[in-house]
């Protein structure tokens, strides 16, 4: 683990969990990464999930976040498929 990287906790739900095969993972990201950078990083790491990742929403520390949002060090980030329950 490089000293210069940030660590985040990534939570995966529903279809995203099924595609990537994990509920929760610790992930290194470049300091200054935005949601769009994380999306690209995950798409590169899980090419079979790249299509699905385009339509997902992200939250940072339990608030929905746009592609332009900055991800702070130590953040709890979640990937949300665009489906809801009731």
């Amino acid at each position: 683990m490089s000293e210069s990287m940030n660590m985040i906790t990534l939570l995966l739900f529903a279809t995203m969990r099924a595609l990537i095969g994990e509920r929760k993972m610790d992930l290194e990201i470049q300091p200054g990464s935005h949601v769009r950078d994380l999306r690209a990083q995950l798409s590169a790491q899980y090419p079979h999930a790249a299509q699905a990742l385009k339509a997902t929403l992200f939250s940072i520390n339990r608030e929905f976040a746009t592609d332009e949002a900055l991800i702070p060090d130590g953040a709890e980030v979640a990937i949300f498929p665009q489906v809801s329950g009731g």
């Binding site: 739900f13 529903a14 929905f64 746009t66 949300f80 489906v83 809801s84 329950g85 009731g86």
Partner: protein, 153 residues
Amino acid sequence: MTVFPTIFSITEDELNLNDVLSQITLPSTGAACFFTGMVRAKTTRGEPYQTDYLEYEAYAPMAESKMKQIAVEIRERWPSVEGIAMIQRVGRLFPGTPTVMIACTAAHRDTGVFEAAHYGIDRLKQIVPVWKKEMGPDKQKWVEGDYSPQAGE
């Protein structure tokens, strides 16, 4: 000064409407409106299909924080609302089972309890991170809903 109760939870337990009602009934309370959503065995809107059961999952800490936010929104819009309860069940849920519930109480029936509960269930569907997987005789699939949060929600 009276503290108005706000109850919210994500739970695997059965919903008990009687218990919820007693928890949000104050000495000044005279009216309650509940909404409950149930698993349908058969759905005919759009392409008809049958359901054996649903698997619900939630991002629980965020779901509870969104429920808290919805309670704040309700109290801003309908200041006469006294108690608010929101419960989402998760896990394997069979047809006929209540899966989600919102209830609002007030002193009288004509100061917004119906509107508050209606607003509340619409917001729950929009911003509370809950997903369901449909298990039917022929297939299993994740179900699309009204989930449409805005950034910052």
